[in-house]
């Protein structure tokens, strides 16, 4: 069923789907949270794959991901070594720190929200209507996740590059 769904989606206008997911302008922060949670999830997942490959090289040397001929593995290992020394890689790690922290704390917020724990009870609607699910508590948790994420990035950049040390 998932494959059918993906095929149908690809038959639809894929750019429309991506625009809807990636450009939440005119909507509330809940929609921004939805988009950021998806983007951070995908980026962190890709990072984990790259991280396993890179750690394998660091621990086991060029032969650990042996793909014949050996020269290919050797070249890949040299590329990995060069990228590990590159400050751009450290900046990338800082961004990963930001995304992982945001995804984790916002994930806790979403887990609570998904079971109605941060929301108000239903009421008698009277104009102007109050959206009972847009509570200050769950919105506060979103901003908390943003704050912690930014702090994590600053801490990571400071540790890796020392940019904030005088």
């Amino acid at each position: 069923m998932i494959i059918t769904s993906i095929r149908r989606t690809s038959r639809q206008n894929l750019s429309k789907v991506l625009t809807t997911m990636l450009v939440p302008s005119r909507y509330t922060i809940e929609r921004w949270s939805y988009t950021l949670q998806r983007v951070s999830g995908v980026v962190v997942m890709l990072y984990f794959v790259a991280h396993v490959i890179e750690t394998g090289y660091v621990v086991g040397g060029p032969g650990v991901w042996y793909v014949p001929p050996y020269e290919v593995a050797q070249r890949s290992w040299e590329t990995v070594k060069a990228s590990l020394k590159d400050p751009v890689f450290d900046v990338g790690l800082g961004i990963i720190g930001l995304l992982v922290t945001f995804h984790t704390i916002n994930g806790v917020r979403l887990t609570l929200t998904h079971f109605g724990y941060t929301l108000k009870r239903p009421h008698r609607p009277e104009f102007p209507y109050e959206v009972r699910s847009f509570t200050n508590f769950q919105r506060g948790l979103f901003w908390l996740s943003i704050s912690f994420a930014v702090f994590s990035m600053i801490y990571a950049l400071d540790t890796l590059l020392g940019v904030f040390r005088a």
Partner: protein, 238 residues
């Protein structure tokens, strides 16, 4: 206050084989005029071929849903002055097949609504046929579902939902909110059947709380709240 605005209207006839276009109309406006008033002015005085759906003109029938300045809204409920712009873009609602211009095919939306059995299910058939008593409810019992029963089936929530955009099998905010409305009704005895469809692959678990449905709802129904409470009910039975 403006005396005139430009309406940038999406025009598309799927039977013509031509791609969609936007057409601009200059419309004179007065105070407290709505987008629907402006569209009807265009239809009456400038372009009779413009297709749109409307009926009650007072946000009760839910017919005139469209994307106004990028957000799903009822045309009869949207004052031109509140948009505070010289040019208003009007498009058909997202997530629906287009019939023509601003008219969309809502049959899939109503099919999903019907699939959650939006009526009271009772076991006492004899009492239903020959009623002898009233089904009394306390204020607390009423408030459990009253908010969700205000739904006018306008489909704005469905047009705003990013999950429906990505996956059209998803039941959608309207149907799930109605499902919750009926299982919370103390007179209903069909919770088991309803919760079965809520717990399916395309049901309550696909919602990711983007909250757009609740933002655009013109009647304060708050489908996002209903769906989160339904999820709790599905998992914990409370």
């Amino acid at each position: 206050m403006r005396n005139e605005i430009i309406l940038k209207v999406y025009r598309f006839d799927p039977t013509s084989g031509k791609p969609p276009t936007y057409k601009r109309y200059s419309v004179p406006i007065t105070e407290r005029e709505t987008v629907l008033d402006a569209l009807l002015y265009v239809k009456e005085h400038q372009d009779a071929t413009l297709s749109l759906r409307f009926s009650c003109r007072m946000a009760v029938c839910g017919s005139c849903g469209m994307l106004i300045d990028g957000l799903p809204r009822l045309a009869c409920y949207t004052q031109i002055s509140e948009l505070d712009t010289d040019e208003i873009e009007v498009r058909p609602m997202s997530n629906y097949p287009i019939v023509r211009d601003l008219v969309v095919d809502m049959s899939g939306f109503f099919e999903k609504h019907r699939s959650v059995m939006p009526w009271l299910i009772r076991r006492d058939v004899r009492e239903q046929n020959q009623p002898t008593k009233q089904y009394l409810q306390s204020d607390e019992q009423l408030l459990e579902y009253l908010q969700f029963s205000y739904c006018i089936k306008c489909g704005l929530c469905y047009a705003a939902c990013p999950v429906v955009t990505a996956m059209d099998e998803f039941l959608g905010p309207q149907a799930l909110a109605q499902l919750y409305r009926y299982i919370r009704d103390s007179r209903d005895e069909g919770a088991t059947e309803r919760l079965k469809s809520a717990g399916e692959f395309n049901g309550v678990w696909r919602c990711h709380f983007a909250g757009s449905c609740s933002q655009v709802c013109p009647k304060g129904v708050d489908p996002a709240l209903a769906i989160q409470l339904l999820r709790r009910r599905t998992l914990f039975m409370k």
